[in-house]
Symmetry: C2
Subunit: 299 residues, 2 copies
Protein backbone atom coordinates (compact mmCIF):
# COMPACT_ATOMS: atom_id res chain seq x y z
CA UNK A 1 0.00 0.00 0.00
CA UNK A 2 3.00 2.30 0.10
CA UNK A 3 2.58 5.46 -1.95
CA UNK A 4 4.68 8.47 -2.82
CA UNK A 5 2.55 10.70 -0.60
CA UNK A 6 3.69 10.64 3.06
CA UNK A 7 0.29 11.84 4.30
CA UNK A 8 -1.37 8.92 2.54
CA UNK A 9 1.08 6.48 4.13
CA UNK A 10 0.28 7.93 7.53
CA UNK A 11 -3.42 7.42 6.83
CA UNK A 12 -3.02 3.83 5.67
CA UNK A 13 -0.83 3.03 8.69
CA UNK A 14 -3.56 4.48 10.87
CA UNK A 15 -6.18 2.37 9.11
CA UNK A 16 -4.12 -0.78 9.55
CA UNK A 17 -3.78 -0.08 13.27
CA UNK A 18 -7.51 0.25 13.76
CA UNK A 19 -8.39 -2.70 11.56
CA UNK A 20 -11.58 -4.52 12.47
CA UNK A 21 -12.54 -8.15 12.70
CA UNK A 22 -11.61 -8.73 9.05
CA UNK A 23 -14.62 -10.94 8.62
CA UNK A 24 -14.83 -10.37 4.87
CA UNK A 25 -11.35 -11.68 4.00
CA UNK A 26 -12.09 -14.71 6.20
CA UNK A 27 -15.13 -15.45 4.06
CA UNK A 28 -12.97 -15.08 0.95
CA UNK A 29 -10.37 -17.58 2.17
CA UNK A 30 -12.83 -20.12 3.52
CA UNK A 31 -15.00 -20.02 0.40
CA UNK A 32 -11.86 -20.40 -1.68
CA UNK A 33 -10.96 -23.54 0.29
CA UNK A 34 -14.41 -24.97 -0.39
CA UNK A 35 -13.41 -24.99 -4.06
CA UNK A 36 -9.80 -26.12 -3.79
CA UNK A 37 -6.42 -24.87 -2.62
CA UNK A 38 -5.96 -21.17 -1.87
CA UNK A 39 -4.12 -19.42 -4.71
CA UNK A 40 -2.42 -16.06 -5.20
CA UNK A 41 -5.65 -14.97 -6.77
CA UNK A 42 -7.42 -15.69 -3.46
CA UNK A 43 -5.11 -13.26 -1.67
CA UNK A 44 -5.89 -10.61 -4.25
CA UNK A 45 -9.63 -11.20 -3.83
CA UNK A 46 -9.31 -10.93 -0.04
CA UNK A 47 -7.29 -7.73 -0.38
CA UNK A 48 -9.72 -6.15 -2.83
CA UNK A 49 -12.74 -6.95 -0.67
CA UNK A 50 -11.11 -5.55 2.49
CA UNK A 51 -9.90 -2.45 0.61
CA UNK A 52 -13.39 -1.76 -0.72
CA UNK A 53 -14.84 -2.32 2.74
CA UNK A 54 -12.29 0.06 4.26
CA UNK A 55 -12.94 2.67 1.55
CA UNK A 56 -16.65 2.61 2.33
CA UNK A 57 -15.96 2.86 6.08
CA UNK A 58 -13.77 5.90 5.49
CA UNK A 59 -16.49 7.46 3.34
CA UNK A 60 -19.08 6.51 5.96
CA UNK A 61 -17.13 8.54 8.46
CA UNK A 62 -17.79 11.60 6.34
CA UNK A 63 -21.25 10.52 5.62
CA UNK A 64 -22.44 9.90 9.12
CA UNK A 65 -20.58 12.77 10.65
CA UNK A 66 -19.54 10.26 13.26
CA UNK A 67 -16.42 11.15 15.14
CA UNK A 68 -15.55 7.85 16.65
CA UNK A 69 -15.28 4.39 15.16
CA UNK A 70 -14.00 1.21 16.74
CA UNK A 71 -12.91 3.20 19.77
CA UNK A 72 -10.48 5.35 17.77
CA UNK A 73 -11.25 8.79 16.50
CA UNK A 74 -12.49 8.57 12.95
CA UNK A 75 -10.35 9.76 10.06
CA UNK A 76 -12.93 12.46 9.66
CA UNK A 77 -12.34 13.85 13.11
CA UNK A 78 -8.60 13.74 12.74
CA UNK A 79 -8.16 15.06 9.23
CA UNK A 80 -11.57 16.32 8.35
CA UNK A 81 -13.88 15.53 5.50
CA UNK A 82 -11.55 16.67 2.78
CA UNK A 83 -8.93 14.06 3.46
CA UNK A 84 -11.41 11.29 4.28
CA UNK A 85 -13.13 11.61 0.91
CA UNK A 86 -9.83 11.58 -0.96
CA UNK A 87 -8.39 8.71 1.06
CA UNK A 88 -11.54 6.67 0.39
CA UNK A 89 -11.27 7.37 -3.33
CA UNK A 90 -7.64 6.36 -3.25
CA UNK A 91 -8.35 3.06 -1.48
CA UNK A 92 -11.16 2.34 -3.88
CA UNK A 93 -9.12 2.90 -7.01
CA UNK A 94 -6.15 1.14 -5.44
CA UNK A 95 -8.27 -1.95 -4.87
CA UNK A 96 -9.63 -1.95 -8.40
CA UNK A 97 -6.16 -1.41 -9.87
CA UNK A 98 -4.85 -4.38 -7.90
CA UNK A 99 -7.33 -6.57 -9.74
CA UNK A 100 -6.79 -4.80 -13.06
CA UNK A 101 -3.00 -5.01 -13.00
CA UNK A 102 -3.25 -8.74 -12.48
CA UNK A 103 -5.80 -9.08 -15.26
CA UNK A 104 -8.40 -10.38 -12.81
CA UNK A 105 -11.34 -9.10 -14.78
CA UNK A 106 -13.98 -11.26 -13.11
CA UNK A 107 -12.80 -10.10 -9.70
CA UNK A 108 -12.83 -6.53 -10.96
CA UNK A 109 -16.43 -6.88 -12.13
CA UNK A 110 -17.45 -8.40 -8.79
CA UNK A 111 -15.77 -5.53 -6.93
CA UNK A 112 -17.09 -2.66 -9.05
CA UNK A 113 -20.63 -3.96 -8.89
CA UNK A 114 -20.43 -4.03 -5.11
CA UNK A 115 -19.28 -0.43 -5.00
CA UNK A 116 -22.21 0.61 -7.15
CA UNK A 117 -24.70 -1.42 -5.15
CA UNK A 118 -23.44 -0.19 -1.79
CA UNK A 119 -23.83 3.43 -2.91
CA UNK A 120 -27.30 2.68 -4.32
CA UNK A 121 -28.34 0.95 -1.11
CA UNK A 122 -27.22 3.81 1.13
CA UNK A 123 -28.92 6.38 -1.10
CA UNK A 124 -32.11 4.34 -1.18
CA UNK A 125 -32.05 4.27 2.62
CA UNK A 126 -31.60 8.03 2.83
CA UNK A 127 -34.43 8.55 0.39
CA UNK A 128 -36.76 6.28 2.30
CA UNK A 129 -35.84 7.90 5.60
CA UNK A 130 -37.75 10.94 4.41
CA UNK A 131 -41.01 9.11 4.06
CA UNK A 132 -41.42 6.71 6.90
CA UNK A 133 -43.73 4.27 5.18
CA UNK A 134 -41.34 1.58 3.99
CA UNK A 135 -42.33 -2.04 4.01
CA UNK A 136 -40.31 -5.22 4.32
CA UNK A 137 -39.62 -5.56 0.61
CA UNK A 138 -37.88 -2.18 0.50
CA UNK A 139 -36.02 -2.95 3.74
CA UNK A 140 -34.66 -6.14 2.22
CA UNK A 141 -33.80 -4.32 -0.97
CA UNK A 142 -31.79 -1.74 0.99
CA UNK A 143 -29.85 -4.19 3.14
CA UNK A 144 -29.21 -6.55 0.22
CA UNK A 145 -27.49 -3.67 -1.54
CA UNK A 146 -25.74 -1.82 1.24
CA UNK A 147 -24.50 -4.78 3.29
CA UNK A 148 -25.08 -8.11 1.58
CA UNK A 149 -23.59 -7.19 -1.79
CA UNK A 150 -20.02 -6.97 -0.48
CA UNK A 151 -20.35 -10.22 1.46
CA UNK A 152 -21.80 -11.83 -1.67
CA UNK A 153 -18.73 -10.53 -3.52
CA UNK A 154 -16.42 -11.92 -0.85
CA UNK A 155 -17.93 -15.40 -1.09
CA UNK A 156 -18.23 -15.53 -4.87
CA UNK A 157 -14.76 -14.05 -5.46
CA UNK A 158 -13.38 -16.52 -2.93
CA UNK A 159 -14.65 -19.64 -4.63
CA UNK A 160 -14.04 -18.15 -8.08
CA UNK A 161 -10.35 -17.89 -7.19
CA UNK A 162 -10.07 -21.66 -6.91
CA UNK A 163 -12.78 -22.94 -9.27
CA UNK A 164 -12.74 -20.50 -12.13
CA UNK A 165 -14.29 -23.04 -14.45
CA UNK A 166 -17.53 -23.59 -12.56
CA UNK A 167 -20.00 -20.69 -12.82
CA UNK A 168 -22.76 -22.54 -10.93
CA UNK A 169 -20.55 -22.87 -7.86
CA UNK A 170 -19.75 -19.17 -8.03
CA UNK A 171 -23.45 -18.28 -8.31
CA UNK A 172 -24.21 -20.58 -5.40
CA UNK A 173 -21.68 -18.90 -3.13
CA UNK A 174 -22.91 -15.49 -4.18
CA UNK A 175 -26.33 -16.57 -2.95
CA UNK A 176 -24.74 -17.86 0.25
CA UNK A 177 -22.99 -14.52 0.81
CA UNK A 178 -26.20 -12.59 0.19
CA UNK A 179 -28.07 -14.60 2.81
CA UNK A 180 -25.26 -14.19 5.34
CA UNK A 181 -25.13 -10.48 4.61
CA UNK A 182 -28.86 -10.07 5.21
CA UNK A 183 -28.64 -12.03 8.48
CA UNK A 184 -25.60 -9.94 9.47
CA UNK A 185 -27.48 -6.68 8.90
CA UNK A 186 -30.59 -7.82 10.78
CA UNK A 187 -28.28 -8.70 13.68
CA UNK A 188 -26.83 -5.19 13.44
CA UNK A 189 -30.25 -3.57 13.32
CA UNK A 190 -31.32 -5.48 16.42
CA UNK A 191 -28.53 -3.86 18.46
CA UNK A 192 -30.37 -0.57 18.14
CA UNK A 193 -33.20 -1.88 20.29
CA UNK A 194 -30.95 -3.10 23.06
CA UNK A 195 -31.66 -6.70 22.37
CA UNK A 196 -28.50 -7.50 24.29
CA UNK A 197 -26.93 -5.48 27.04
CA UNK A 198 -23.59 -4.56 25.51
CA UNK A 199 -23.27 -0.96 26.56
CA UNK A 200 -23.68 0.13 22.95
CA UNK A 201 -25.72 3.31 22.54
CA UNK A 202 -29.31 2.49 21.61
CA UNK A 203 -31.69 4.19 19.26
CA UNK A 204 -29.10 5.57 16.82
CA UNK A 205 -31.03 4.25 13.83
CA UNK A 206 -34.25 5.69 15.22
CA UNK A 207 -32.61 9.10 15.53
CA UNK A 208 -31.43 8.81 11.92
CA UNK A 209 -34.95 7.79 10.85
CA UNK A 210 -33.74 4.44 9.57
CA UNK A 211 -36.64 2.04 9.33
CA UNK A 212 -35.39 -1.38 10.38
CA UNK A 213 -37.17 -4.71 10.47
CA UNK A 214 -38.20 -4.70 14.17
CA UNK A 215 -39.74 -1.24 13.80
CA UNK A 216 -41.46 -2.03 10.51
CA UNK A 217 -43.03 -5.11 12.06
CA UNK A 218 -44.11 -3.24 15.18
CA UNK A 219 -45.75 -0.47 13.15
CA UNK A 220 -47.58 -2.95 10.96
CA UNK A 221 -49.05 -4.53 14.05
CA UNK A 222 -50.02 -1.38 15.89
CA UNK A 223 -53.31 0.46 16.08
CA UNK A 224 -53.71 3.47 13.79
CA UNK A 225 -53.35 5.77 16.76
CA UNK A 226 -50.19 4.09 18.08
CA UNK A 227 -48.72 4.10 14.62
CA UNK A 228 -49.29 7.82 14.17
CA UNK A 229 -47.83 8.51 17.60
CA UNK A 230 -44.63 6.50 17.02
CA UNK A 231 -44.09 7.84 13.49
CA UNK A 232 -44.38 11.34 14.84
CA UNK A 233 -41.61 10.69 17.33
CA UNK A 234 -39.32 9.26 14.63
CA UNK A 235 -40.11 12.14 12.25
CA UNK A 236 -39.13 14.70 14.84
CA UNK A 237 -35.80 16.23 14.01
CA UNK A 238 -34.24 16.28 17.44
CA UNK A 239 -35.70 13.20 18.99
CA UNK A 240 -35.26 13.40 22.75
CA UNK A 241 -33.68 10.43 24.60
CA UNK A 242 -36.84 9.65 26.56
CA UNK A 243 -38.87 9.62 23.34
CA UNK A 244 -36.36 7.29 21.70
CA UNK A 245 -36.71 5.01 24.72
CA UNK A 246 -40.47 5.03 24.18
CA UNK A 247 -40.01 3.79 20.62
CA UNK A 248 -37.65 1.06 21.81
CA UNK A 249 -40.20 -0.04 24.43
CA UNK A 250 -42.97 -0.02 21.83
CA UNK A 251 -40.94 -2.25 19.49
CA UNK A 252 -39.99 -4.64 22.28
CA UNK A 253 -43.55 -5.02 23.50
CA UNK A 254 -44.95 -5.61 20.04
CA UNK A 255 -42.74 -8.64 19.42
CA UNK A 256 -40.62 -6.85 16.81
CA UNK A 257 -37.41 -8.25 18.30
CA UNK A 258 -38.54 -11.87 18.12
CA UNK A 259 -39.90 -11.35 14.62
CA UNK A 260 -36.59 -9.93 13.34
CA UNK A 261 -34.61 -12.68 15.08
CA UNK A 262 -36.74 -15.31 13.38
CA UNK A 263 -36.09 -13.69 10.03
CA UNK A 264 -32.38 -13.66 10.77
CA UNK A 265 -32.33 -17.32 11.69
CA UNK A 266 -34.34 -18.16 8.58
CA UNK A 267 -31.71 -16.51 6.36
CA UNK A 268 -28.97 -18.24 8.32
CA UNK A 269 -30.72 -21.58 7.86
CA UNK A 270 -30.95 -21.01 4.11
CA UNK A 271 -27.25 -20.18 4.06
CA UNK A 272 -26.49 -23.41 5.93
CA UNK A 273 -28.53 -25.36 3.40
CA UNK A 274 -26.37 -24.01 0.61
CA UNK A 275 -23.26 -24.96 2.58
CA UNK A 276 -24.55 -28.46 3.12
CA UNK A 277 -24.69 -29.06 -0.61
CA UNK A 278 -20.88 -29.22 -0.30
CA UNK A 279 -19.22 -32.34 1.12
CA UNK A 280 -18.11 -32.17 4.74
CA UNK A 281 -14.66 -30.61 5.17
CA UNK A 282 -12.68 -28.50 7.66
CA UNK A 283 -13.39 -25.36 5.61
CA UNK A 284 -17.11 -26.06 5.50
CA UNK A 285 -17.08 -26.51 9.26
CA UNK A 286 -15.14 -23.26 9.75
CA UNK A 287 -17.57 -21.39 7.50
CA UNK A 288 -20.45 -22.64 9.65
CA UNK A 289 -18.66 -21.40 12.76
CA UNK A 290 -17.99 -18.04 11.15
CA UNK A 291 -21.65 -17.71 10.22
CA UNK A 292 -22.66 -18.54 13.79
CA UNK A 293 -20.20 -15.91 15.01
CA UNK A 294 -21.57 -13.10 12.83
CA UNK A 295 -25.15 -13.84 13.80
CA UNK A 296 -24.57 -14.40 17.51
CA UNK A 297 -22.00 -11.65 18.04
CA UNK A 298 -22.68 -9.25 20.84
CA UNK A 299 -21.29 -6.17 19.13
CA UNK B 1 -27.63 6.65 -16.25
CA UNK B 2 -31.06 5.65 -15.05
CA UNK B 3 -31.04 3.69 -11.80
CA UNK B 4 -33.60 2.05 -9.58
CA UNK B 5 -33.15 4.74 -6.95
CA UNK B 6 -35.34 7.82 -7.58
CA UNK B 7 -33.11 10.05 -5.44
CA UNK B 8 -30.12 9.06 -7.55
CA UNK B 9 -32.01 9.89 -10.74
CA UNK B 10 -32.86 13.28 -9.33
CA UNK B 11 -29.20 13.85 -8.58
CA UNK B 12 -28.01 12.81 -12.02
CA UNK B 13 -30.66 14.99 -13.69
CA UNK B 14 -29.43 17.85 -11.57
CA UNK B 15 -25.84 17.16 -12.58
CA UNK B 16 -26.78 17.05 -16.26
CA UNK B 17 -28.52 20.43 -15.96
CA UNK B 18 -25.49 22.08 -14.45
CA UNK B 19 -23.01 20.45 -16.81
CA UNK B 20 -19.89 22.45 -17.56
CA UNK B 21 -17.93 23.14 -20.68
CA UNK B 22 -17.38 19.43 -21.32
CA UNK B 23 -13.85 20.12 -22.40
CA UNK B 24 -12.65 16.61 -21.56
CA UNK B 25 -15.01 14.71 -23.88
CA UNK B 26 -14.09 17.20 -26.62
CA UNK B 27 -10.46 16.19 -26.20
CA UNK B 28 -11.48 12.54 -26.36
CA UNK B 29 -13.37 12.97 -29.63
CA UNK B 30 -10.81 15.18 -31.33
CA UNK B 31 -7.91 12.94 -30.34
CA UNK B 32 -9.90 9.97 -31.59
CA UNK B 33 -10.31 11.68 -34.95
CA UNK B 34 -6.56 12.23 -35.14
CA UNK B 35 -6.25 8.47 -35.26
CA UNK B 36 -9.17 7.58 -37.52
CA UNK B 37 -12.96 7.52 -37.50
CA UNK B 38 -14.82 7.90 -34.20
CA UNK B 39 -16.10 4.52 -32.96
CA UNK B 40 -18.53 3.35 -30.30
CA UNK B 41 -15.51 2.86 -28.13
CA UNK B 42 -14.78 6.59 -28.45
CA UNK B 43 -18.21 7.42 -27.02
CA UNK B 44 -17.54 5.11 -24.10
CA UNK B 45 -14.17 6.74 -23.47
CA UNK B 46 -15.77 10.21 -23.56
CA UNK B 47 -18.49 9.07 -21.17
CA UNK B 48 -16.05 7.48 -18.75
CA UNK B 49 -13.82 10.54 -18.65
CA UNK B 50 -16.74 12.91 -18.05
CA UNK B 51 -18.21 10.60 -15.40
CA UNK B 52 -14.91 10.45 -13.54
CA UNK B 53 -14.56 14.21 -13.82
CA UNK B 54 -18.09 14.69 -12.48
CA UNK B 55 -17.49 12.23 -9.64
CA UNK B 56 -14.42 14.17 -8.55
CA UNK B 57 -16.33 17.47 -8.77
CA UNK B 58 -19.08 16.06 -6.58
CA UNK B 59 -16.47 14.84 -4.08
CA UNK B 60 -14.70 18.20 -4.32
CA UNK B 61 -17.91 19.83 -3.18
CA UNK B 62 -17.64 17.91 0.06
CA UNK B 63 -13.99 18.39 0.22
CA UNK B 64 -13.86 22.12 -0.21
CA UNK B 65 -16.93 22.82 1.83
CA UNK B 66 -17.89 25.04 -1.07
CA UNK B 67 -21.55 25.72 -1.38
CA UNK B 68 -21.71 27.01 -4.88
CA UNK B 69 -20.36 25.70 -8.15
CA UNK B 70 -20.98 26.95 -11.67
CA UNK B 71 -23.56 29.34 -10.34
CA UNK B 72 -25.76 26.59 -8.94
CA UNK B 73 -25.80 25.45 -5.38
CA UNK B 74 -23.48 22.52 -4.95
CA UNK B 75 -24.85 19.04 -4.34
CA UNK B 76 -23.30 19.36 -0.94
CA UNK B 77 -25.39 22.37 -0.04
CA UNK B 78 -28.56 20.80 -1.31
CA UNK B 79 -28.25 17.30 0.04
CA UNK B 80 -25.34 17.53 2.37
CA UNK B 81 -22.11 15.61 2.55
CA UNK B 82 -23.67 12.24 3.04
CA UNK B 83 -25.37 12.16 -0.31
CA UNK B 84 -22.54 13.88 -2.18
CA UNK B 85 -20.02 11.24 -1.11
CA UNK B 86 -22.34 8.39 -2.09
CA UNK B 87 -23.33 9.98 -5.39
CA UNK B 88 -19.66 10.49 -6.24
CA UNK B 89 -18.91 6.85 -5.43
CA UNK B 90 -21.84 5.78 -7.57
CA UNK B 91 -20.71 7.85 -10.57
CA UNK B 92 -17.20 6.53 -10.20
CA UNK B 93 -18.18 2.88 -10.12
CA UNK B 94 -20.76 3.47 -12.86
CA UNK B 95 -18.05 4.87 -15.12
CA UNK B 96 -15.71 1.98 -14.45
CA UNK B 97 -18.48 -0.58 -14.97
CA UNK B 98 -19.32 1.01 -18.32
CA UNK B 99 -15.80 0.18 -19.48
CA UNK B 100 -15.79 -3.21 -17.77
CA UNK B 101 -19.10 -4.38 -19.21
CA UNK B 102 -17.83 -3.63 -22.67
CA UNK B 103 -14.55 -5.39 -21.98
CA UNK B 104 -12.61 -2.18 -22.54
CA UNK B 105 -9.77 -3.13 -20.25
CA UNK B 106 -7.27 -0.59 -21.54
CA UNK B 107 -9.81 2.18 -21.04
CA UNK B 108 -10.52 0.84 -17.58
CA UNK B 109 -6.84 0.91 -16.67
CA UNK B 110 -6.52 4.47 -17.98
CA UNK B 111 -9.55 5.54 -15.93
CA UNK B 112 -8.64 3.82 -12.66
CA UNK B 113 -5.11 5.20 -12.76
CA UNK B 114 -6.49 8.71 -13.13
CA UNK B 115 -8.72 8.27 -10.09
CA UNK B 116 -5.76 7.14 -8.02
CA UNK B 117 -3.51 9.94 -9.29
CA UNK B 118 -6.13 12.64 -8.73
CA UNK B 119 -6.61 11.54 -5.12
CA UNK B 120 -2.83 11.36 -4.61
CA UNK B 121 -2.37 14.83 -6.11
CA UNK B 122 -5.02 16.43 -3.91
CA UNK B 123 -3.63 14.74 -0.81
CA UNK B 124 -0.10 15.81 -1.70
CA UNK B 125 -1.36 19.37 -2.01
CA UNK B 126 -3.05 19.26 1.38
CA UNK B 127 0.07 17.84 2.93
CA UNK B 128 2.27 20.51 1.41
CA UNK B 129 -0.14 23.26 2.44
CA UNK B 130 0.97 22.62 6.01
CA UNK B 131 4.58 23.44 5.34
CA UNK B 132 4.78 26.37 3.03
CA UNK B 133 8.18 25.63 1.60
CA UNK B 134 7.32 23.85 -1.64
CA UNK B 135 9.39 24.37 -4.74
CA UNK B 136 8.52 24.16 -8.42
CA UNK B 137 9.22 20.45 -8.73
CA UNK B 138 6.61 19.61 -6.09
CA UNK B 139 4.16 22.10 -7.62
CA UNK B 140 4.48 20.38 -10.99
CA UNK B 141 4.14 16.99 -9.33
CA UNK B 142 0.90 18.07 -7.68
CA UNK B 143 -0.73 19.58 -10.76
CA UNK B 144 0.42 16.73 -13.00
CA UNK B 145 -1.48 14.38 -10.73
CA UNK B 146 -4.53 16.32 -9.73
CA UNK B 147 -5.33 18.00 -13.05
CA UNK B 148 -3.19 16.73 -15.90
CA UNK B 149 -3.72 13.02 -15.29
CA UNK B 150 -7.40 13.09 -16.33
CA UNK B 151 -6.67 15.18 -19.42
CA UNK B 152 -3.85 12.79 -20.27
CA UNK B 153 -6.40 9.97 -19.92
CA UNK B 154 -8.87 11.82 -22.15
CA UNK B 155 -6.31 12.25 -24.92
CA UNK B 156 -4.78 8.80 -24.72
CA UNK B 157 -8.15 7.03 -24.40
CA UNK B 158 -9.39 9.09 -27.36
CA UNK B 159 -6.70 8.06 -29.77
CA UNK B 160 -6.60 4.52 -28.36
CA UNK B 161 -10.27 4.13 -29.35
CA UNK B 162 -9.37 4.51 -33.03
CA UNK B 163 -5.78 3.24 -33.20
CA UNK B 164 -5.67 0.41 -30.72
CA UNK B 165 -2.73 -1.16 -32.49
CA UNK B 166 -0.28 1.70 -32.08
CA UNK B 167 1.05 2.11 -28.52
CA UNK B 168 3.50 4.88 -29.50
CA UNK B 169 0.65 7.09 -30.72
CA UNK B 170 -1.22 6.47 -27.46
CA UNK B 171 1.87 7.37 -25.41
CA UNK B 172 2.36 10.49 -27.53
CA UNK B 173 -1.18 11.71 -26.89
CA UNK B 174 -0.85 10.96 -23.20
CA UNK B 175 2.15 13.28 -23.19
CA UNK B 176 0.11 15.85 -25.14
CA UNK B 177 -2.71 15.64 -22.58
CA UNK B 178 -0.29 16.01 -19.68
CA UNK B 179 1.17 19.19 -21.14
CA UNK B 180 -2.27 20.64 -21.82
CA UNK B 181 -3.36 19.72 -18.31
CA UNK B 182 -0.39 21.49 -16.76
CA UNK B 183 -0.99 24.60 -18.89
CA UNK B 184 -4.70 24.44 -17.96
CA UNK B 185 -3.91 24.35 -14.23
CA UNK B 186 -1.38 27.19 -14.42
CA UNK B 187 -4.08 29.23 -16.18
CA UNK B 188 -6.43 28.36 -13.33
CA UNK B 189 -3.88 29.28 -10.69
CA UNK B 190 -3.32 32.65 -12.34
CA UNK B 191 -6.98 33.59 -11.83
CA UNK B 192 -6.31 33.72 -8.12
CA UNK B 193 -4.06 36.72 -8.58
CA UNK B 194 -6.54 38.67 -10.62
CA UNK B 195 -4.48 38.43 -13.76
CA UNK B 196 -7.65 39.26 -15.66
CA UNK B 197 -10.60 41.24 -14.45
CA UNK B 198 -13.37 38.67 -14.56
CA UNK B 199 -15.17 39.40 -11.33
CA UNK B 200 -13.99 36.06 -9.92
CA UNK B 201 -13.13 36.20 -6.22
CA UNK B 202 -9.37 36.52 -5.79
CA UNK B 203 -7.04 34.98 -3.26
CA UNK B 204 -9.00 31.78 -2.63
CA UNK B 205 -5.90 29.64 -3.06
CA UNK B 206 -3.96 31.94 -0.77
CA UNK B 207 -6.61 31.53 1.91
CA UNK B 208 -6.39 27.77 1.49
CA UNK B 209 -2.60 27.96 1.72
CA UNK B 210 -2.16 26.50 -1.74
CA UNK B 211 1.27 27.33 -3.06
CA UNK B 212 0.93 28.08 -6.75
CA UNK B 213 3.57 28.92 -9.35
CA UNK B 214 3.27 32.74 -9.23
CA UNK B 215 3.63 32.73 -5.44
CA UNK B 216 6.48 30.20 -5.42
CA UNK B 217 8.40 32.34 -7.93
CA UNK B 218 7.73 35.54 -6.01
CA UNK B 219 8.94 34.04 -2.74
CA UNK B 220 12.08 32.68 -4.35
CA UNK B 221 12.90 36.16 -5.57
CA UNK B 222 12.15 38.06 -2.39
CA UNK B 223 14.45 39.22 0.40
CA UNK B 224 14.56 37.05 3.50
CA UNK B 225 12.53 39.63 5.38
CA UNK B 226 9.82 39.94 2.68
CA UNK B 227 9.62 36.17 2.43
CA UNK B 228 9.10 35.76 6.16
CA UNK B 229 6.46 38.49 6.14
CA UNK B 230 4.44 37.01 3.25
CA UNK B 231 4.67 33.42 4.55
CA UNK B 232 3.36 34.63 7.88
CA UNK B 233 0.29 36.10 6.20
CA UNK B 234 -0.40 32.88 4.29
CA UNK B 235 0.15 30.77 7.40
CA UNK B 236 -2.39 32.78 9.37
CA UNK B 237 -5.58 30.81 9.80
CA UNK B 238 -8.10 33.53 9.12
CA UNK B 239 -6.31 35.61 6.56
CA UNK B 240 -7.99 39.03 6.37
CA UNK B 241 -9.03 40.36 2.94
CA UNK B 242 -6.60 43.29 3.09
CA UNK B 243 -3.75 40.90 3.93
CA UNK B 244 -4.69 38.65 1.01
CA UNK B 245 -4.61 41.74 -1.21
CA UNK B 246 -1.10 42.45 0.05
CA UNK B 247 0.04 39.00 -1.04
CA UNK B 248 -1.55 39.50 -4.46
CA UNK B 249 0.23 42.84 -4.83
CA UNK B 250 3.51 41.29 -3.77
CA UNK B 251 3.21 38.53 -6.38
CA UNK B 252 2.22 40.96 -9.11
CA UNK B 253 5.12 43.31 -8.40
CA UNK B 254 7.67 40.53 -8.27
CA UNK B 255 6.90 39.38 -11.80
CA UNK B 256 5.27 36.13 -10.64
CA UNK B 257 2.39 36.57 -13.10
CA UNK B 258 4.64 36.93 -16.15
CA UNK B 259 6.80 34.05 -14.99
CA UNK B 260 3.82 31.69 -14.64
CA UNK B 261 2.39 32.82 -17.98
CA UNK B 262 5.69 32.06 -19.67
CA UNK B 263 5.67 28.58 -18.14
CA UNK B 264 2.10 28.06 -19.33
CA UNK B 265 2.98 29.10 -22.89
CA UNK B 266 6.02 26.86 -22.83
CA UNK B 267 3.87 23.83 -21.99
CA UNK B 268 1.38 24.88 -24.64
CA UNK B 269 4.17 25.17 -27.18
CA UNK B 270 5.40 21.68 -26.34
CA UNK B 271 1.85 20.39 -26.76
CA UNK B 272 1.63 22.06 -30.18
CA UNK B 273 4.89 20.43 -31.19
CA UNK B 274 3.43 17.02 -30.43
CA UNK B 275 0.34 17.91 -32.46
CA UNK B 276 2.46 19.01 -35.38
CA UNK B 277 3.98 15.58 -35.69
CA UNK B 278 0.56 14.63 -37.08
CA UNK B 279 -0.37 15.60 -40.65
CA UNK B 280 -2.58 18.65 -41.06
CA UNK B 281 -6.28 17.86 -40.73
CA UNK B 282 -9.54 19.46 -39.53
CA UNK B 283 -9.29 17.59 -36.21
CA UNK B 284 -5.70 18.72 -35.66
CA UNK B 285 -6.80 22.29 -36.34
CA UNK B 286 -9.75 21.96 -33.92
CA UNK B 287 -7.47 20.54 -31.24
CA UNK B 288 -5.20 23.57 -31.63
CA UNK B 289 -8.18 25.85 -31.23
CA UNK B 290 -9.36 23.96 -28.17
CA UNK B 291 -5.91 24.25 -26.62
CA UNK B 292 -5.90 27.99 -27.30
CA UNK B 293 -9.32 28.20 -25.69
CA UNK B 294 -8.33 26.45 -22.45
CA UNK B 295 -5.22 28.57 -22.06
CA UNK B 296 -6.76 31.92 -23.02
CA UNK B 297 -10.11 31.44 -21.28
CA UNK B 298 -11.18 34.22 -18.99
CA UNK B 299 -12.87 32.02 -16.40
Amino acid sequence: MQSKVPLLDKITQYIVRRKGKQVRPMFVFLCAKLGGEVTESTFRAATLVELLHTATLVHDDVVDESYERRGFFSLNALWKNKIAVLAGDYLLSRGLLLALNNKEFDLLAIGSESVQEMAEGELLQIEKARRLDIQEDVYYDIISKKTASLLASACSAGIASTTKTDPTLVAKMKEFGTKIGIAFQIRDDLFDFGDEDVGKPLGIDIKEKKMTLPLIYALNNATKKEKRYIINIVKNHNTKPEKVREVIQFVRQSGGIEYAKEAMYRYREEAFEILHSFPESPSRYSLEQLVVFVTERKK
